[in-house]
C-alpha cells in the first residue's frame, strides 16, 4: 500500500506491506539505520523516534499509522553539519559506550527538553523510564542531558 510521509523534513512515498513496522521501514526502506532495533517488544526504547513531535517506540507503530506524519530520527537532529546540543552533550559527558541505546536516549531526551527546558535529575530519570542502557550506566546519560539543557537555554537566551 502507498505510504507518504515526511522524514527529517523530506517528503517520501513508498509502496509497503501494511504489516511493516515503522522501525523497519525507516531502516530498510528509507535507509536510515541510525534508529536501532533492540528488544522489538516495546521495552528498551532503542527504536525511539519522533512522530509529529512526540517520542514513540517505532517497533510498536505500523508504518501505515504514520501516513501524512512528520517523523524525526536521530539523523534529523544535526543542522548544517553542527551537532545538536544533545549529541554534543553525550559526546562531552561520556554519555555512551557501545552506543546501541544512544539514538533512542537522545530522541527521548529531546522530547523531554521540548516540554521542560530545565528538568531536574528526577524528571530526567522519569522521562527515560522507557529507555534501557546496558553498558554506560545512567549517571553519565543524565549529565549529558543536563549539559545539553544548559547549553540550549543559553543559546535561546543569546
Amino acid at each position: 500500500m502507498r505510504l507518504s510521509l515526511t522524514i527529517n523534513g523530506e517528503r517520501r512515498e513508498d509502496d509497503i506491506d501494511p504489516r511493516t513496522l515503522l522501525v523497519h521501514y525507516l531502516r530498510d526502506i528509507a535507509g536510515l539505520t541510525g534508529t536501532h532495533v533492540g528488544c522489538e517488544t516495546s521495552l528498551c526504547g532503542a527504536c525511539t523516534v519522533h512522530l509529529n513531535g512526540h517520542a514513540v517506540k517505532s517497533c510498536t507503530v505500523l508504518a501505515v499509522q504514520a501516513e501524512g506524519a512528520e517523523i524525526t530520527t536521530i539523523e534529523g537532529l544535526a543542522r548544517g553539519g553542527q551537532l545538536h546540543p544533545l549529541q554534543e552533550g553525550f559526546w562531552e559527558e561520556h554519555g555512551l559506550q557501545c552506543g546501541y541505546c544512544t539514538p533512542g536516549m537522545i530522541m527521548a531526551a529531546a522530547d523531554l527538553l521540548a516540554r521542560n527546558r530545565n528538568p531536574t535529575e528526577t524528571q530526567i530519570r522519569e522521562a527515560l523510564e522507557g529507555n534501557l542502557c546496558r553498558c554506560t550506566g545512567y549517571q553519565h546519560i543524565i549529565n549529558a542531558i543536563q549539559s545539553a539543557a544548559a547549553k540550549m537555554r543559553t543559546q535561546k537566551a543569546a
Binding site: P18, E40, S42, L62, A127, G130, N131
Partner: protein, 288 residues
C-alpha cells in the same frame, strides 16, 4: 518480530469505521494507538485479517466540557490526559493516573479508549474510571448507548463493548471541590503495569466524616472492581481511625490473580496495604 499479514483500512469517521467492522465481521479488529494490539500481533496472539485504523478520526481525539461534564474522546492519548488543564483542574485523579501508565513513549501512543476496551487486568485507567463513576459511550450500527463504569468491566479482557462497536468517549462529572483523591500503584518492575493499583477518592462533611467514598482496584482480580466493602466501612466515619479497618476489606470476595511476579496472597496483601495508603493520602488532601 512482525505481525502476520492483514489488510489495512483507514476509517475517517466513526460511521465509516462501523461500516467496515460490519463488513469484516469476526475477521476485523479496531486499531487505535496499537500499544496493546501490535505487541499481541507480533507475538501472533492476535492475527486479525482486517485492521480498521480509527487513529485518524479527529473528533475522537479531543477533550471537551459539555452539560457540566468533562468528556474525553476515545482516542485521547495518555499523554494528553496527563497534560490537559481541564482534566488536571476537574478530574485530578485521572491525570495522576495517566502520568504513571507505562513510560513517556507509551503515553504518547496509547489511548484511553484502547486501554478501557482492551481491559488488561493490570491496566491503570480502569481503577480511576471506576472511582470517578465514569460513563462510557459505545457506538454501534444500531445507535449508541452509555454504560456506567460499574457495569462496563465484565471479565478478563472482556467489557461491555461488543465486536463491531466503537468506544467513542468517556464522560465524568467533575470531582467535588474539597475532595481528596489519589491513584497509587505498585509497579510490576519489568513491564510497569500495575501489580496492584488503587484509586481512592473521598469527601468530608462539615463534621469531618466521610460522606462519599470511592475505591477502585485494578491488578488484583481478573477484572477491576469497586471495593464496596471498603467504601461502606468508611462511610459516615472520621477517616483517621477508620481507614485501617476499612482497608482490610480490600480483597474481600475477590479471587486474586497469581503469576510468577506475585502470588495470590501477596497480591491480596498489596491490595490491602495500597488501599490503606491511598485512603490516607486522599484523607490528608480532603477539606471539610
Amino acid at each position: 518480530m512482525f505481525p502476520a499479514s492483514f489488510e489495512y483500512h483507514r476509517a475517517s469517521s466513526v460511521k465509516e469505521a462501523l461500516a467496515m467492522l460490519q463488513q469484516y465481521g469476526e475477521d476485523g479488529k479496531i486499531l487505535a494507538g496499537g500499544h496493546s494490539l501490535i505487541p499481541m500481533m507480533k507475538l501472533r496472539l492476535a492475527q486479525p485479517a482486517h485492521l480498521v485504523d480509527i487513529g485518524g478520526i479527529r473528533q475522537l481525539a479531543s477533550i471537551r466540557e459539555e452539560g457540566g461534564k468533562v468528556i474525553i474522546g476515545g482516542l485521547v492519548t495518555h499523554h494528553a490526559v496527563e497534560r490537559s488543564d481541564v482534566v488536571r483542574a476537574k478530574l485530578g485523579m485521572l491525570s495522576e493516573c495517566a502520568a504513571v501508565i507505562g513510560d513517556t513513549q507509551v503515553r504518547n501512543r496509547g489511548t484511553i479508549g484502547g486501554s478501557l476496551a482492551h481491559a488488561d487486568p493490570a491496566a491503570d485507567y480502569p481503577a480511576a474510571v471506576l472511582a470517578l463513576d465514569g460513563e462510557i459511550k459505545i457506538e454501534g450500527t444500531g445507535g449508541s448507548r452509555v454504560v456506567k463504569a460499574d457495569d462496563f468491566f465484565i471479565d478478563l479482557m472482556t467489557t461491555a463493548v461488543q465486536p463491531g462497536e466503537v468506544l467513542t468517549e468517556v464522560a465524568f462529572a467533575p470531582v467535588a471541590s474539597g475532595a481528596g483523591f489519589t491513584y497509587l500503584k505498585h509497579r510490576q518492575p519489568a513491564s510497569g503495569f500495575a501489580m496492584v493499583g488503587v484509586a481512592a477518592l473521598l469527601t468530608l462533611d462539615k463534621k469531618g466524616n466521610c460522606d462519599r467514598v470511592r475505591v477502585g482496584i485494578t491488578g488484583l482480580g481478573a477484572k477491576p472492581f469497586r471495593a464496596k466493602a471498603v467504601e461502606a466501612a468508611l462511610l459516615g466515619k472520621a477517616p483517621a481511625p477508620a481507614i485501617a479497618a476499612a482497608a482490610a476489606h480490600a480483597a474481600d470476595g475477590i479471587d486474586p490473580l497469581s503469576d510468577i511476579h506475585a502470588s495470590a496472597d501477596f497480591r491480596a496483601e498489596l491490595a490491602r496495604v495500597y488501599t490503606r495508603r491511598a485512603l490516607e493520602t486522599a484523607a490528608a488532601r480532603a477539606k471539610a
